[in-house]
């Protein structure tokens, strides 16, 4: 009986829905942070036996990183880049909701088809895959560089939950290496956002389109 863990899973799905439709940048950052914290707490709630010190410490690191450090980095990047507050999605509200629900259905179907190891917590596999899809949605349907980083983080959350769901016991060293990578990724992307804003006066990636092989007409012979 993992009633609390299941509640957290449903909350994570609802956060996906919220992320898919929200148009405010600070709300997006908060939602991603909340999702990261929930994902970090999940191993404490889902474990069948008692919580070991290692698990607790690792969960604490995750919660600290996703709940405090990442939002801080992102808010700093947002402020320094002077991004406007709105990040209205390119697709409409109903379409976003439909996409989220559809991805959850697809993920459930996928999860039921694959012979995945049995987990004690219901919906964890579909929820994690749906979160990965939502990350994709954020990356592809928003035009601000910072929302693309948010999308990457949502994907990362999803993958983290997926890892929990499969109970793939990674050695601590590997976990830490992965975590370090994600941290550096957000850090580097934050710097890149700052440079983009300085160089282009905006962080709208829809206008990062100088390099393309599709519109090369009228140059040279």
């Amino acid at each position: 009986m993992h009633i609390l863990a299941e509640l957290v899973i449903v909350l994570i799905i609802l956060l996906d829905l919220g992320l898919a439709v929200t148009g405010s940048l600070s709300a997006c950052i908060r939602l991603v942070a909340a999702q990261g914290v929930l994902a970090g707490l999940l191993p404490l709630l889902a474990g069948t036996e008692g919580i070991s010190a290692g698990t607790a410490a690792f969960a604490a690191v995750i919660v600290l990183l996703k709940g405090a450090v990442f939002p801080w980095l992102l808010i700093r990047a947002r402020d320094r880049s002077g991004a406007r507050q709105d990040v209205e999605p390119l697709v409409s509200y109903p379409v976003s909701v439909a996409f989220c629900l559809g991805s959850f259905v697809a993920a459930s179907w996928l999860g039921s088809r694959l012979p995945l190891p049995e987990t004690g917590v219901a919906w964890i596999v579909p929820a994690s895959l749906a979160t990965v899809f939502t990350g994709f949605l954020l990356i592809t349907t928003r035009t601000k560089a910072i929302t693309q980083v948010l999308g990457y983080l949502v994907m990362e959350n999803g993958i983290y939950i997926f890892g929990l769901a499969l109970f793939v016991q990674q050695p601590m060293m590997v976990e830490l290496a992965i975590l370090l990578d994600v941290f550096v990724a957000v850090f580097v992307m934050g710097i890149a956002i700052f440079h983009i804003s300085r160089e282009f006066d905006h962080i709208d990636t829809a206008e990062l389109s100088e390099l393309s092989d599709w519109r090369r007409e009228g140059y040279g012979s």
Binding site: R113, L114, P115, L116, P117, V132, F136, I139, A145, Q148, Y152, M155, E156, I159, F162, G163, L166, F167, V168, Q169, Q170, P171, M173, V174, E175, A177, I178, L180, D181, V184, A185, V188, M189, A192, H195, I196, E199, F200, T205, L208, S209, E210, L211, D213, R216, Y219, G220, S221
Partner: protein, 492 residues
């Protein structure tokens, strides 16, 4: 020695960030590269003499890893010499952009050199990883550490390229992480971990469907990084906008690292009896990459992008070779080596061409032979080598793939392969010939160009080596390649 080869670039890289003096930083770069390749050569030597180093549980070199380490290290050796000379000339000349009337500044040299060395450390870690999770982390690290390199010239277009590179590769590699998790899940019931030795030995026990899913995700993930179509979109941008030395490393070393990631998982799949499945996917995306590259090479106007698409083409052919299996794997590895050598040589030369002509547009470069005869000759030789004119390693591996395709009864594939090669050749020939020959337009006030021998020497050397392996494959290289191919096939 494994530890040394891993730690050396890491420590030097961190040191480069704190060193204040340009000259000492450059000699640090050179000496690190020399020491790294010496260590790599020693590792190969010990393996050849039958007493390979055991290594640890996390990092150790098997023949496949050793082979890619050797390529990476050799390439870096050339790149470091080129870079030292390049940084010197960048320091002296103002940063005028290839587009006229547009100036930019460069990133601090400390950041560039430090990132270059850390990039080497990450690539070394990729070749040495014995654990799939660690392999993943190292590949992601290569992305993050090479991003500052692409953004060396601080202007809009390189920034756009950096952003696309960072985001597309990070997202792609995130999918590879999902693949790794599937791989882990496939072994949960059988109690197989994610470290390579137990994955290989326990491969038949793995859950087949999950293993298939794992391969798909890993393939898409590392395939993005490797530049296989349709996930290649970052590659032309990053290669064309970064400094020549970085393009050479990206194309020659980084793509190979991603290839290694795919080969590791496909070896496990082959052991589990899924060779047909993985082979099919490799063939499909190989053909797709060839097709895409051929299409975009035909009308290409930017010679660095042309080289980038040629990299996609070669990655497609290597993927084809890997998909065909058997001798095809040997051909693929030979292809990785010869492509790295010849493409690095070409990219090095492209940097000199850019310096001479100050444009990347093919139609604006004419009669290079008159302005920079040595550069033009190397440029032309590189073109002949990369398109597979005999005798060269490139020709050899293309021929082997063709033969393997025919031998396995896939005549349609062989036909398509030949057809696309002809298109690529035509497209590249048009570009290179119009650049090298032709009447040079009068440009008033143009100063004569002094060809930088120090930058051309590594290019010429690499191209020479690429020809050499086509003429004569030394016995030790042959045995290393065979062992590596056996590794990749999962039979060793």
């Amino acid at each position: 020695m494994t530890t040394a080869v891993l730690l050396l670039p890491l420590i030097s890289g961190l040191l480069a960030f704190v060193l204040r003096d340009d000259a000492s930083r450059r000699s640090l770069l050179l000496w690190t590269a020399r020491a790294h390749s010496t260590l790599a050569a020693l590792l190969v030597f010990f393996w050849l003499s039958g007493q390979p180093e055991a290594g640890g549980a996390w990092f150790a070199f098997d023949p496949l890893g050793l082979f890619f380490l050797a390529i990476t290290s050799l390439l870096f050796l050339g790149a470091s010499h080129y870079a030292a000379r390049y940084l010197d000339s960048e320091k002296r000349s103002p940063g005028e952009d290839a587009e006229p009337g547009f100036f930019f500044s460069n990133a601090p040299e400390a950041v560039f050199t430090g990132s270059l060395l850390l990039f080497l450390a990450a690539m070394t870690a990729v070749t040495a990883s014995r654990h799939m999770g660690l392999l993943w982390a190292s590949v992601e690290a290569t992305t993050l550490l090479s991003a500052p390199l692409i953004y060396f010239h601080r202007h809009k277009r390189s920034l756009e390229a950096t952003w696309k590179y960072l985001l597309i590769c990070s997202v792609g590699i995130a999918l590879a992480l999902v693949g790794n998790l599937f791989l882990g899940a496939a072994g949960v019931k059988a109690g197989v971990g994610l470290d390579l030795p137990s994955l290989l030995s326990g491969a038949p026990l793995l859950e087949r469907q999950l293993l298939k899913a794992a391969f798909l995700f890993v393939f898409v993930g590392y395939g993005t990084k490797m530049g296989l179509a349709p996930f290649h979109t970052w590659l032309p941008d990053a290669h064309s906008e970064s400094p020549a030395v970085v393009s050479a490393l990206l194309s020659g070393a980084l793509l190979n690292c991603a290839l290694l990631g795919i080969l590791r998982v496909s070896a496990v799949c082959a052991r589990a009896g899924l060779a047909d499945f993985t082979g099919g996917i490799l063939l499909l995306f190989g053909v797709l990459s060839l097709l895409t590259a051929a299409l975009f090479i035909l009308g290409q106007r930017d010679y660095k992008r042309l080289l980038a698409y040629s990299s996609i083409e070669h990655m497609g052919m290597i993927s084809l070779g890997a998909g065909l299996g058997g001798p095809g794997l040997f051909a693929a590895l030979l292809g990785a080596l010869s492509h790295s050598l010849s493409k690095a040589g070409l990219f090095f030369t492209s940097g000199v061409v850019l310096e001479a002509e100050r444009t990347k547009q093919i139609p604006e470069v004419k009669g290079l032979l008159h302005r920079a005869p040595l550069t033009a000759s190397i440029w032309l030789a590189g073109f002949l080598i990369i398109t597979g004119m005999p005798p060269s390693g490139v020709f050899l591996y293309k021929f082997m793939i063709l033969r393997q395709a025919a031998a396995s009864g896939r005549y349609w594939l062989a036909g398509l392969f030949l057809f696309l090669l002809v298109i690529v050749f035509a497209g590249m020939a048009r570009a290179f010939i119009s650049m090298v020959f032709g009447e040079r337009p009068e440009k008033p006030g143009e100063k004569p160009f002094r060809e930088p021998r120090g930058m051309l020497a590594p290019a010429a050397l690499f191209l020479f080596l690429a020809v050499l392996i086509g003429l004569w494959l030394p016995g030790w290289l042959d045995s290393l390649l065979k062992a590596a191919a056996a590794n990749a096939a999962g039979t060793l």
